[in-house]
Symmetry: C2
Subunit: 490 residues, 2 copies
Amino acid sequence: MEARILRGPQPRGREKLARLIEWLHWVIAEAELYDVRYPVKGAYVWRPYGMKIRRNVEAAMRRLLEETGHGEVLFPVFIPYEFFAKESEHIRGFEEEVFWVTKGLQEGESRLVLRPTSETAIMPMFKLWIRDHTDLPYKVYQIVSVFRAETKMTHPLIRLREISMFKEAHTAHVDREDAERQVREAVDIYRRFFDELAVPYLISRRPDWDKFAGAVYTIAFDTVLPDGRALQIGTVHYLGTNFSRVFEVTYLTPDGRHELVHTTSYGISERSIAAMLAVHGDDRGLVLPPSVSPYKLVIVPIFYSDEEYAAMVQASRGLASELQAAGISAIIDERRDKTPGWKYHYWELLGVPLRVEIGRRDVEEGRVVIARRDTLEKVSVPRGSVVDHVRSLLSEVQENLRREAWQRLSASIKRVETLEDARVVVGEERAVAEVPWNGRDECGVKLQDAVDANALGVPLDRDPDVGGYDLRDPICGDRATYWLRIARRY
Amino acid sequence: MEARILRGPQPRGREKLARLIEWLHWVIAEAELYDVRYPVKGAYVWRPYGMKIRRNVEAAMRRLLEETGHGEVLFPVFIPYEFFAKESEHIRGFEEEVFWVTKGLQEGESRLVLRPTSETAIMPMFKLWIRDHTDLPYKVYQIVSVFRAETKMTHPLIRLREISMFKEAHTAHVDREDAERQVREAVDIYRRFFDELAVPYLISRRPDWDKFAGAVYTIAFDTVLPDGRALQIGTVHYLGTNFSRVFEVTYLTPDGRHELVHTTSYGISERSIAAMLAVHGDDRGLVLPPSVSPYKLVIVPIFYSDEEYAAMVQASRGLASELQAAGISAIIDERRDKTPGWKYHYWELLGVPLRVEIGRRDVEEGRVVIARRDTLEKVSVPRGSVVDHVRSLLSEVQENLRREAWQRLSASIKRVETLEDARVVVGEERAVAEVPWNGRDECGVKLQDAVDANALGVPLDRDPDVGGYDLRDPICGDRATYWLRIARRY
């Protein structure tokens, strides 16, 4: 498989990305992914190219959930207010954030909440579905719209009033041990999911003051966007018996006792797509991981006459069907009124991983040119081995995107010991600081204020404890036990 | 492929089905498709087996729409009231039926309507997306939840307050001619969709008093359920410039003029699934068309000892992987604590098209037994040719369901000439009557009242005119021009 290098790796501009929200507005408009001009705040429109990407992302998630025994369900959007209000912490956390429906109700009907999350919709059904220990664990998921009456500034894909791609899983278990095993399974599923999107992540146990309303504890996945802000991209909650107690969801044990189930829930949204676009994109536009790119490659026939056009299009179609037969989805840009240069820019904007150029000389020499979107490299390969080259280049692109994104993430986490250093890391270097912490809420909250940042929590993906080091909590001054991650956050 | 008949076609009981709503409640509960116990009227829960069927139905629809150049989009649930109210006929038709959100809004924000259909959400975006004639036709679709504040009795899958599987397509065209070409394309897509579900249909042009609010005209697909009532299962609307005028959606013609686009919309919902379940089901439960059945066949190993269990399960797995390799999804019921008879009933309830039984004698003789869900026939076939037998049986089942359902539909349409006969056909025979009609609204409306039925409209799938016959409108007494279909309707 002799390949001739025509152009080596090129530096990719990522300046625009530093102004992330601006870049996101630009790229979703130019690539026609998503439209922010819909006349309701925080509610946007997915366009066909965006939907194709989204469907591939959903399929990846579905596959992981089905493989691990989750059944897909679909619950109503409406939750009766009295169900929504049953769990006191939950209602306290969400009450200000929900939309209510008041017109259209039946006489005497309770007001209806548009679900902001579905624990309180699902528990009454778990009560009906779960009878005895042989029914457990019970694992379901759905991909739905949820609603949050956001008063803050909304941003496409990131902060929404209608979150239209909320994948929420809900599970019930015989005891805490099995529920915590499920928490670990969920964390593992999310790792594999983000690995498929080549999105790097931090896994942290959220501090108690920032856990999900109604949870015993919350484990969160965050990534760091090119502007240095952390973005929460997934959460896993151990809910204990907080919900099962108020909804009376019990099961019969083998020895005939009724016990409360322990439940968990875990969610992912279109923020996963925002993260994927932002961590890989550049000044030319999208750079999609091959795993979820709607087209793995685009073929651009190069022609200077009608005769050449016919011949090059024919050569392109031959190649496309060969690739198709090998399971590689290719698209041919046959437009006659656009120049090759225009098309290169167009497909770079759309983030298609590989571009194949077929011109007269290539055909005569029995070769084709392949350009990589990620490194902008160009190689010339023999026509006979294109499929093999494409296949190995696609896995190289996937791996390269993953590796580079992880390197950037790692470079943006810094352990510091003083408040001053924490401020420099978060404020000037726009990175995530890990700061010694005594584990007490009041000291952590004060630290947030002092640094003007949010605590992401205690690391779960590296040593959470300061270990034998005699480190001090920089706020309260006493001996520190943990590292606490802090960062500016979306 | 020598097959030995062990049992010929059996009569299938369809008595329960005559009480359709009861049967539907029974089957969706027993087969765990769908749960009606959710605590909001007209809002139900899809369970995993139901979701698997639904996903296959959606995939069939998506394939047909993508093949014909429709791009998938996703619009917000919220429509600002002032947009919703722009088209006067539309708001008049839907105003009483919509849910409003009033809590959770921003200061000064217009009240938000939960979409009952999306014309008024999509038009403001068409205005932004469509510039000149080269952008047309513009064809999009989405599969979403829509909301109707139904005051009538709700029924699972059939009459809902949250319709959770609303496939709506919206298109824009240069002129009436192209829009009407699209109407014919939509009718053709729906034909192919219902053919895939083996659901028979009547195609009628709805009378003006029953067209979609805002349409120039509406073409509807209806099927006849086993209780004799017609169910509307799809509609196609030509909207003219009614919506483009109020939303100012224009395009630039080649000679530089601004013209209004002509639009269409067409919808299908989970009623398509209700129809599929009802037209094929029987007293034992579901009978699923192979085209959308989550499992094409179930393998039941027959055993009377531990040793036999191991051997039969092994034989079953060998067969399952052979079938899998041939692209036929099979499931093995390996449960030890259930008898074969129990399992037969279970999988019959779930409607799996074929059942393969593998017992010791079968293995010794090198044969397997295949039972058909539709005819309850049993044949014994050589082990070596199972895959071929299964493949041809699956297409026979599909074809047989289609043929039988169409026969029943045809038998339930009767042409009559007098009011008395119409009453007998609709009231006693529980069928659809085609009655001569002069084409005037007031005579048609009176006919509905006189027969206590609804007009489905003028046939488009057979000759709509009475032709040369000198037939009289039975209400108004003058000469009839058309046939008008009338029936009791859901």
